[in-house]
């Protein structure tokens, strides 16, 4: 992962072709890449695809209004940090306050002077970049040998030089902006917002307290103690990767077991992907998303301790066989319990067949005893199971499967917010496919 410099990308959402053209030329003449959407739907699609540095948004649009588009941008955790400037002929204070209430950074009334537009664009971009900090891109694979690598990305040159001097004996210092090098440690100012990867991927990140500011639990001081702290942070990250590698080995075993059964091959991967999509929609942090992913992949590992003929049985199970199958969550927990670093996965493995109303198995837990990550995997598992054809029924469409799960919500079995997040994702996917058709 390296720090890269990028050009300024702007999405203009404007239905009037002449206005859009003038804006596009004006911004391009000032070194910006400009993409234009003529409707709210087009604009949102561009914003989600390009993740621009800035959105210029008209209020009056043919399919919706700019306020709605702005709210959608600001409601999506992926796009919420993109600044929006309204451009509108509606100059009433009522309109301006409403636009700013929707989360816009500025509101400019048409007709406006080009110099004022550019000044406001620069002001908003400047503020936004201070908050968003450097962008990180994946590094090209390089052979890593010798000392770990570090980038010291402190804004103040004197402090940056100080940091590089302290870390120099233990780390190979990579200049800011160098591309294609794998980085083990990234040192940034305390207020820098670094877009980090999930789990233990990417570099360890240390935040340096501002000069004169007290050190908090989130920051470290820029002094000689920085080197051993940095060393520890990099080692912790490596240990995390080793734990991930152990989990990967278990997942490979579980997948190998699953792949013998054509009807369920790839099912766990789909459940994991679905569960992570739901978790992200609910705004869960990357570390919990990773727990959910690995937990979903390993949730049925207890099946490996049951007779193969029973697990693969195509016919309806007898009550006795069903009781035996229903032991797989407890068997999975037994199997994974010795791997102490994987303890965070155990609730998912043991409880992903529990229901909020106590009608699930193996423990008959009720709502307050079932954590959110377990509820998410339970919903993803049920949804993906409904999408597979069984001997007693055909595969269901996504919409039909959502309806079945909503009926389970109405009965009090599944979590309503989790199913709502699933439904939102399925509807969004359908809309995307329709738009692309």
């Amino acid at each position: 992962m390296t720090i890269v410099r990028t050009e300024t990308n702007v999405v203009v959402v404007e239905d009037d072709p002449a206005s859009a053209d003038v804006l596009q030329r004006r911004l391009q003449a000032n070194g910006m890449n400009v993409s234009v959407g003529r409707t709210g739907g087009d604009g949102l699609a561009l914003i989600r695809e390009l993740h621009p540095d800035l959105v210029l948004l008209d209020v009056g649009l043919p399919d919706t209004d700019g306020y709605d588009v702005c709210l959608q941008v600001k409601s999506d955790s992926v796009t919420a940090d993109i600044p929006v400037i309204f451009l509108s002929a509606r100059g009433d204070v009522f309109d301006k306050v409403r636009g700013l209430s929707c989360g816009a950074s500025d509101y400019l009334t048409k007709p406006f002077h080009p110099a004022e537009l550019l000044a406001r664009v620069d002001a908003v971009l400047s503020q936004s970049r201070r908050v968003r900090g450097p962008r990180l891109a994946k590094a090209a694979e390089t052979t890593r040998a010798g000392r770990p690598t570090a980038i010291v990305a402190l804004a103040d040159p004197a402090r940056r030089e100080h940091g590089e001097r302290v870390l120099g004996p233990r780390f190979e210092i990579i200049p800011v902006g160098a591309e294609g090098r794998a980085v083990d440690l990234l040192v940034v100012d305390a207020d820098t917002n670094v877009a980090s990867e999930t789990g233990n991927e990417g570099p360890a990140i240390l935040r340096i307290a501002a000069a004169g500011a007290p050190v908090t639990t989130e920051t470290v001081a820029l002094n000689d103690d920085l080197a051993p702290i940095a060393d520890l942070a990099v080692r912790e990250r490596q240990l995390g990767r080793d734990v991930d590698a152990a989990a990967d080995a278990l997942i490979a075993l579980a997948m190998a077991f699953e792949s013998h059964d054509r009807s369920t091959a790839g099912h766990s991967e789909r459940v994991a992907n679905r569960a992570v999509a739901i978790a992200r929609s609910l705004g869960l942090d990357p570390a919990l998303c990773q727990t959910i992913r690995v937990g979903a992949l390993l949730r049925d590992i207890g099946n490996t301790k049951l007779p193969l003929g029973l697990v693969r049985s195509p016919s309806e199970l007898t009550p006795a066989e069903r009781r035996q199958i229903e032991q797989h969550p407890a068997l999975g927990q037994e199997l994974l319990a010795p791997f102490r670093p994987l303890a965070r996965l155990l609730p998912i493995v043991r409880s992903h067949h529990e229901h909020l109303d106590g009608s699930g198995y193996p423990d008959g837990l009720k709502a307050p005893q079932i954590p959110l990550e377990v509820r998410i995997v339970a919903v993803a598992d049920r949804f993906e199971a409904l999408r597979i054809a069984r001997p007693d029924r055909p595969a269901m469409s996504a919409d039909a499967a959502v309806q079945i799960l909503q009926q389970s919500v109405q009965r009090g079995e599944l979590d309503a917010a989790v199913v709502a997040a699933l439904a939102t994702g399925v509807r969004g996917h359908d809309r995307g496919e329709a738009a692309g058709a």
Partner: protein
């Protein structure tokens, strides 16, 4: 009730009031609010364009929603006000706990200002409203005992005009959003809770007229004007949100 909740301010409305709800276009809403603004004062508790975030509770068998659909329910909700739209609920030091009971053609409401951090304890049943000499407080305690917890949230910008003592109250809600809330526990660290996903948005404006006794002539005229031009059989925000949450909304 514990001492933590003792500093609440209670605003019981002992006389049931009338309430009508309209879905209006932006233009119609502006006209209505200009009219309201020329007769009434801006309401103190709903400053223009503050974001109202309201978390509605229901039980695991959705008893409150089912009763509300039938037109008679006691709704239990928590309301907060922010200058910018929060993506979490129960972030405020002070929260309004509201009990609102609807019958077919009347409603009554009681409001308690409570410390935000006592919400989980209230939902655990450790604090209650039984020392308030109203039936609503006792009914709310029964709902909490039955497992009521936050399930949906509405967020909107409210412009409110009201006559003294809320004899007439006219509100316009813009940017109305319905959201789910993944509430899993009543532990103290359950708050603040992140809200979402978004269940639906209302692109039009929700106008509500609430009044005690008879309407004055200008308000009667406005009410008739709105009835002619905007649908008046709109269900409550809670019912609309719950229909979306449970997949029962007409798409």
């Amino acid at each position: 009730m514990t001492s933590e909740m003792a500093d609440r301010s209670v605003q019981p409305e002992s006389t049931p009031r009338h309430e009508d709800r309209f879905i209006a276009s932006e233009e119609l809403a502006r006209l209505a609010m200009r009219t309201a603004g020329s007769h009434l004062q801006l309401a103190h508790d709903d400053r223009p364009y503050q974001w109202s975030t309201t978390a509605y509770c229901d039980t695991y068998d959705w008893a409150i929603f089912r009763a509300a659909e039938a037109g008679q329910a006691l709704r239990l909700r928590f309301r907060e006000y922010h200058r910018t739209r929060p993506d979490e609920a129960f972030t405020s030091a002070r929260v309004w706990l509201e009990l609102k009971e609807d019958t077919v053609d009347m409603s009554r409401k009681e409001r308690f200002e409570i410390a935000g951090d006592v919400v989980p304890a209230f939902l655990r049943g450790e604090t209650d409203l039984t020392d308030v000499s109203t039936a609503l407080g006792q009914k709310a305690a029964e709902l909490v005992h039955a497992g009521a917890r936050p399930v949906v949230v509405t967020q909107y910008n409210r412009l409110a005009y009201a006559a003294p003592e809320d004899r007439i109250r006219i509100t316009a809600d813009h940017n109305l959003i319905y959201l789910a809330v993944p509430w899993t526990t009543n532990d103290d660290d359950a708050i603040p809770v992140r809200i979402g996903p978004i269940l639906a948005r209302e692109t039009d404006v929700v106008i509500e007229m609430k009044w005690l006794g008879e309407l004055p002539a200008w308000a009667e005229e406005l009410h008739g004007y709105l009835r002619q031009r905007a649908p008046a059989d709109r269900p409550s925000k809670f019912v609309v949100a719950m229909r979306h949450l449970l997949g029962e909304a007409q798409s």
